[in-house]
């Protein structure tokens, strides 16, 4: 009995490992290729650079992963981040204490997510079309609120939070690392995580089994909204301004990171570690292509090809499930 338990526990770890191993292998291939082409790539400064540049996408992609796992999709992450960012910036510029402004931004992000979630859960609408609508709607709110102008006057103490570093690691990376751990715990160690996976895997069975399906769906979008808002704050900290057009195209990068990391857009499948690796793959790609001075059109070409190849490698490594 003890041994049975031990055995199946270790098998569990192995399976989880194998799942993400495919993605990791894809990352390794990219790293090996780029570092053989340019020596700068593998310097520790550049590695930190890549992590820092992947941090914002990773943050958004974590929330996206939860939404995708629960069977939805969130196209509105960019504008959600923009609304939260301009709100926080306005508050801070008006002298509101930083923690309060941050809290307000997170609440706004969560509320935007809750609105998406409510339309999906109670309106019975398709997630893609709901968040396509709020993609326009939230962007419009951000633009109207600011009149289209970026908001400056971010307090230096706020900026210091995001431009500083701890133990040589830039703070955005530290923040996202902590958040990843938290989301990993939510997904793997809490009932809510089980519910995300169950609802995405079989909504009807979950409903009959007493899973609060609607609340679970809304929760996924709330996480996504709050994490998008966090990403928006990180960016404001780095840029020193909150632009209402901030977050443009974030949804595609976040979905790509989650999908490269093994999340299934049919729901019920996805991993925090995989998504993080996916975000780093995309970040490395951009970084490496720039180091090699690849021209924009060919960067686009390479991005397309590498996404496809990464997915094929992943597929081949992981096998048909």
């Amino acid at each position: 009995m003890q041994t049975v338990e031990a055995k199946s526990a270790s098998r569990l770890r192995l399976t989880a490992g194998l799942r993400d191993a495919g993605t990791l292998f894809g990352l390794l291939v990219i790293v090996v290729v780029f570092s053989s082409l340019t020596p700068t790539f593998l310097t520790s400064a550049n590695m930190l650079n890549i992590l820092q540049q992947s941090a914002i996408n990773a943050c958004v992609a974590l929330g996206m992963t939860l939404v995708i796992i629960s069977g939805g999709i969130d196209l509105s992450v960019g504008p959600t981040a923009a609304i939260a960012a301009v709100a926080a910036a306005t508050l801070m510029a008006a002298g509101v204490p930083i923690p309060l402004a941050v809290l307000a931004a997170l609440l706004i992000g969560a509320a935007a997510g809750a609105f998406n979630g409510a339309l999906v859960a109670f309106g019975g609408l398709q997630p893609f079309i709901v968040t396509l609508g709020t993609l326009s709607l939230y962007r419009a709110i951000a633009l109207i609120y600011t009149g289209g102008n970026p908001i400056f006057g971010i307090p230096p103490e706020f900026r210091a939070l995001f431009t500083g570093s701890v133990g040589g690691i830039p703070n955005p990376v530290n923040i996202v690392a902590v958040l990843s751990l938290a989301i990993w715990i939510v997904l793997n160690k809490t009932p809510l995580g089980e519910y995300f996976l169950a609802v995405g895997g079989n909504e009807e069975a979950s409903h009959i089994a007493g899973v609060p399906v609607r609340r679970v769906k809304i929760a996924a979008y709330v996480f996504s909204g709050a994490l998008a808002a966090t990403a928006g704050l990180i960016l404001v900290g780095r840029l020193g301004a909150a632009d209402p057009t901030l977050g443009n195209l974030w949804e595609l990068d976040a979905i790509a990171a989650a999908a490269i990391g093994g999340a299934s857009l049919m729901g019920g499948k996805g991993s925090v570690v995989g998504t993080l690796i996916g975000a780093v793959i995309l970040g490395s790609l951009r970084n490496g292509l720039t180091l090699l001075n690849v021209q924009a059109f060919y960067q686009l070409l390479a991005t397309g090809i590498i996404i496809l190849v990464a997915m094929l490698i992943d597929r081949a490594t992981r096998g048909r499930e």
Binding site: A45, N46, F152, N248, R286
Partner: protein
């Protein structure tokens, strides 16, 4: 840090590009191995490719290396930031930046400053902390077209604006310049000002709709040439070529061709190749230790059938033409 946030259109510390030579002398020779890094918004727009051409021309003349990169698509703010940061880590001597938005390259700007790498903000969106800016007055693009209408359509009438992407600085300034100038003349009415998203197809459809609503419209102003060429087709399809004058912005080669063919009434050329050349010149002067005014103004000119031949020249001939124009 002590600098006030830059507004390139109104900044008092400015100089015209033609005066650089007379005030600061020759461009200092660059040490061997000098590398300049250019980052623009996108290469899918001819305008930015022309700026890159200018970089390459000037760099070749000065015997320095220039690397020109761009984000994968217009609006890819983080991608552009990543590219710029990565370039900084590669040890370029100076950077020529054309940011997607006013703020998205700020961290790169800061780390460049920290490393004492001169940064030239080239055209369009304005980094508020930029020490040096090269470009034209965005607002004047619209003003020049408005002035044409006031001068050439004395009876006034209805005009419409097709704007660029919502929230983009250049689009806002161009539209404002046009609208504020033309409405000073009470005979003109701006009956529509709607987004065309820099997209030829969207501009075409919007123009068709506006013509539907206002059959007596006399003119369109588009925030760029791609949209203007789309509008021209919509006007042709409505059979109103004689009545409706269409203007664009940027002066891309296709717009010149259309002006010559008598379809596009005009475009405001901001001479991107020259702008690129001047930007490199400014970067080299900065590297040479010169202290330049904050804004270096590059020229722009309204290109119509009357003037198109005059401006259809390149290189030093064009410089000569523009120098004369500025002197006036």
């Amino acid at each position: 840090q002590d600098l006030a946030p830059l507004n390139s259109d109104t900044e008092a510390d400015r100089i015209d590009w033609t005066q650089l030579q007379s005030k600061f002398g020759d461009v200092p020779a660059a040490p061997a191995g000098t590398r300049l890094g250019g980052v623009s918004k996108t290469l899918t727009n001819q305008y930015w490719r022309s700026v890159g051409e200018g970089y390459a021309n000037a760099a070749q003349k000065a015997g320095v290396e220039v690397v020109y990169q761009a984000a994968q698509s217009e609006g890819d703010q983080l991608g552009q930031l990543s590219i710029t940061e990565t370039m900084i880590s590669q040890g370029f001597n100076a950077l020529l930046l054309s940011p997607q938005t006013d703020s998205n390259l700020q961290p790169a700007m800061e780390s460049a400053m920290a490393k004492s790498i001169p940064v030239v903000n080239v055209n369009d969106a304005v980094i508020p902390s930029a020490r040096n800016y090269v470009g034209n007055v965005q607002r004047d693009n619209g003003v020049k077209v408005a002035e044409w209408f006031i001068a050439n359509r004395p009876d006034g009438g209805k005009v419409a604006v097709i704007e660029g992407q919502a929230g983009v600085y250049a689009a806002g300034q161009r539209t404002r310049g046009f609208t504020e100038t033309i409405t000073k003349d009470p005979k003109f009415q701006v009956v529509a000002s709607v987004p065309g998203n820099w997209d030829r197809q969207v501009a075409y459809d919007s123009a068709a709709n506006i013509l539907q609503q206002h059959p007596d419209l006399i003119g369109f102003y588009a925030n760029n040439d791609g949209m203007a060429l789309g509008i021209v087709e919509a006007v042709k399809a409505a059979g109103k070529q004689e009545q409706v004058a269409v203007f664009g912005t940027d002066g891309i080669p296709d717009a010149y061709a259309s002006v010559k063919a008598g379809e596009l009434k005009g475009t405001v050329d901001s001479f991107p190749v020259l702008t690129g050349e001047v930007a490199v010149e400014v970067a080299l002067r900065l590297l040479g230790g010169q202290s330049l005014p904050r804004v270096v103004v590059t020229p722009q000119a309204l290109i119509t059938a009357d003037t198109v031949e005059k401006y259809s020249v390149t290189g030093d001939d064009l410089r000569a033409v523009l120098a004369v124009q500025t002197a006036k």
